[in-house]
Amino acid sequence: MSAKLETLSQNLQTHFGDKLRSTKLAVGELTIEVGPADYLAIMTALRDEPDLGFEEIIDLCGVDYSTYGDGAWSGRRFAVVSHLLSIAHNWRLRVRVFADDDEFPRVDSVTRVWTSANWFEREAFDLYGIAFVGHEDLRRILTDYGFIGHPFRKDFPISGYVEMRYDPDQARVIYQPVTIEPRENTPRILREDTYGDPAHG
C-alpha cells in the first residue's frame, strides 16, 4: 500500500508542486493541505488528471480547531476536510483547506466537480457555518427549521440553548430556554507527553 501512496505522492508533486502547503503520510494515509485560493483548481485537477483519477468524493466535513490540544492551536479556526477515492487506482487522499476568515469562514464549493459534495457542504454549513462560495442551494440540512446558530462549533454547548415542548395552556408546541444542566461524568484529560513513561518517574 505504501508503495502506491509514494507514487500518488509523486504524482501530486509533479502536478501541483509548491501549491501544496504540506504533504503528510501518516497511519497509511496521505494528507495534503492546500490554500483556499488554489482549492477549486486543485480539486478539479484531482478528478480530471488520469494519473490522479479521483472519481469520487467520499466525504467532506467541517472541523473547528479552536480548542484543539486545550488551547495549543495557533492556526486558523475552521477547516474543510475532504476524503477522495480513486476507483481506477484504488487509492485515497485527504485534502484539508483552512478558511482564511475565522469570523466568516468561506471556502469554494466543489459541487460542480462532484455532485455528491452537495449535501456534505450543506451539512458543513449547517453545523459549522462555513459558507461555500458557488454552492447553488446552501440551506440547512440536519437541524430544525428555523434553528439559530451552528451547533458543532466548539463554543456551542452540548445541551443547546432552546428546548421544545407541548404547552397545554397555549395548546401548541413552544420553544423555551433549556432547563437541563450540562453534566460531565468523565472529564476530558490531556496528559503531558511523558505521562506513563517509566523513565520519567
Binding site: T31, E56, D59, I87
Partner: protein, 417 residues
C-alpha cells in the same frame, strides 16, 4: 385555457414507505415527478458532537444506533479507526469473529431490506418470511452480546468476549408447552457455532423461496425493471458505494479491494449488475446474501479449530481479565485507569472504512491525544444515496419513488445521525 401549474406534494415524515422519518417534498406534473427535495434531520441526535464529550469506549454503543439495521458493522469501523491510531493489532481469532458477525449483520440487513422493499412495492408475504429468518440471527446476536439489536460487542482491540458455548433455551410458558419448547430447542442444544451452522445450512432453501416469490414475479418486475436507472459515470459522480455502485456495473468492494479483518483469508465473489436499475440492485443484494452465507460457513469452520484470544492483551487499551485484576496490583491499576479515565489515543487523524451492507461506512476521527475524540465524523452511505433521490426519481411516476427509496436501502439512524 386553464392555468396549469405543478402540484407540490408532501410525502412523509410519517409515511410507511418512507423507511423512517423522511419528509419528501415532491413537485408533480400530473403523476410525474419533476423535482424531489428530501428534508432530512428529523432524527438528528448530534451523535458526532456527543462523541466529543464521551471517552472513546463510551461511544461504541452510539454506533449501534446509527444504522440500527447493521449494528456491528458500524462498531467495526469505529473500532478500526481507534486501533489504527493506537497501532494495536487485533488477535486473529478476534478478526475472524468480526468477519463472521459482519456477515451475519449483512444478512440481517438485507433480510430487512428485501422484506420492507417488497412490502412497499406490494408483496406483503416477504416481510413475514424474512422476519422468520431474522429471528434466528437476532438470537445469535443475543447469545453473544446479551442484546438482540444494539450489541456493543466490538471493542477497540478486538471483541468483548469469546463466543459462548451454549445457546439460550426456550422455557415452558403460557405460550410454549413442554413439547413445543423441546422442538424449538433442538438446534440450540450445541454451541453458538453449531446453531449458526444449522442456520447457514437452512438459509439457501429460504433464499430460493424468496427468488421463487419475487425474481420472475410479473408485478415485481413491472415495478422494478428500468426504474431508477443510474449509469456507472453518474453513480461515481453521485458518490455511490456498495450495492448501489455494483448495481451500476462497477466491481468495487472494500472487502476485496482494501481488505480488513479476515476478508483476505476467506473466499467469496462480488456480484455486479448490468443495467443499473432497481431490479439489478435487487439481484446484487440477493446474491450478496448467499455470498455472506458462504463467508459465515468458512468462519465457523476456522473458529472451531482455532481457539485463542479475541481481544488484545495490551491493557492500556483493553481491560485485563477479572481474575488477573483481583490478584495483580498492576492489572488493578490498569482496570481502574481504563474505566475511570479511558484510553488515551495518540494525536493524529485517521479515516477507517468498512464495506457496510449499505455501502462504504467510514469513520474519520481527529484526536489531540486526550481520552475523548476531538472530532468524529461519520460517513454514512445512506446519506449520499438519498442525496441522489432528486436525480433518480425525476421523470418517474410517484409510485416509483417508493421503489427507489426501497432500492436505495436508506435508514434514518445513519442519515440524520
Amino acid at each position: 385555457m386553464a392555468d396549469i401549474r405543478n402540484f407540490t406534494l408532501n410525502f412523509g415524515p410519517q409515511h410507511p414507505a418512507a423507511h423512517g422519518v423522511l419528509r419528501l417534498v415532491l413537485e408533480l406534473d400530473g403523476e410525474v415527478v419533476q423535482r424531489a427535495d428530501p428534508h432530512i434531520g428529523l432524527l438528528h441526535r448530534a451523535t458526532e458532537k456527543l462523541a466529543e464529550t464521551r471517552t472513546w469506549v463510551q461511544s461504541v454503543p452510539y454506533m449501534d444506533r446509527l444504522d440500527y439495521m447493521s449494528m456491528m458493522c458500524n462498531e467495526h469501523a469505529y473500532c478500526m479507526a481507534i486501533e489504527r491510531l493506537l497501532d494495536v493489532e487485533v488477535p486473529i481469532r478476534g478478526k475472524y469473529v468480526r468477519t463472521m458477525f459482519d456477515e451475519v449483520t449483512r444478512v440481517l440487513n438485507h433480510l430487512l431490506w428485501i422484506g420492507c422493499h417488497a412490502l412497499d412495492v406490494g408483496a406483503m408475504t416477504m416481510a413475514l418470511y424474512t422476519f422468520r429468518e431474522r429471528e434466528d440471527l437476532m438470537d445469535v446476536y443475543e447469545a453473544v452480546s446479551g442484546a438482540r439489536m444494539h450489541a456493543a460487542y466490538y471493542r477497540p482491540g478486538g471483541v468483548y468476549r469469546d463466543l459462548p458455548d451454549r445457546m439460550p433455551q426456550y422455557q415452558e410458558s403460557t405460550w410454549t408447552n413442554a413439547k413445543k419448547a423441546k422442538e424449538k430447542n433442538e438446534n440450540r442444544s450445541g454451541t453458538l457455532l453449531d446453531f449458526l451452522e444449522d442456520f447457514t445450512n437452512r438459509f439457501p432453501t429460504y433464499h430460493s423461496e424468496y427468488h421463487t416469490l419475487l425474481t420472475d414475479n410479473r408485478i415485481w418486475k413491472q415495478r422494478l425493471v428500468n426504474v431508477g436507472v443510474v449509469t456507472p459515470e453518474r453513480a461515481m459522480q453521485m458518490g455511490f458505494t456498495g450495492a448501489m455502485l455494483r448495481g451500476s456495473g462497477i466491481a468495487w468492494d472494500l472487502r476485496k479491494k482494501q481488505p480488513y479483518a479476515a476478508y483476505d483469508k476467506v473466499d467469496f465473489d462480488i456480484p455486479v449488475g448490468v443495467n443499473g436499475d432497481s431490479y439489478d440492485r435487487y439481484l446484487v443484494r440477493m446474491e450478496e446474501m448467499l455470498q455472506s452465507n458462504r463467508i459465515i460457513k468458512q468462519c465457523i469452520e476456522w473458529l472451531r479449530n482455532n481457539p485463542g484470544p479475541v481481544i488484545t492483551d495490551n491493557h492500556k487499551v483493553a481491560p485485563p481479565s477479572r481474575e488477573d485484576m483481583k490478584s495483580n496490583m498492576e492489572e488493578l491499576i490498569h482496570h481502574f485507569k481504563l474505566f475511570t479515565e479511558g484510553i488515551h489515543v495518540p494525536a493524529g487523524e485517521v479515516y477507517a472504512a468498512v464495506e457496510h451492507p449499505k455501502g462504504e461506512f467510514g469513520i474519520y476521527v481527529i484526536s489531540d491525544g486526550a481520552n475523548k475524540p476531538y472530532r468524529l465524523k461519520i460517513r454514512p452511505p445512506g446519506y449520499v444515496h438519498l442525496a441522489s433521490m432528486d436525480e433518480m426519481s425525476r421523470g418517474h411516476m410517484i409510485a416509483d419513488v417508493v421503489t427507489i427509496i426501497g432500492s436505495q436501502d436508506v435508514v434514518f439512524g445513519e442519515i440524520d445521525r
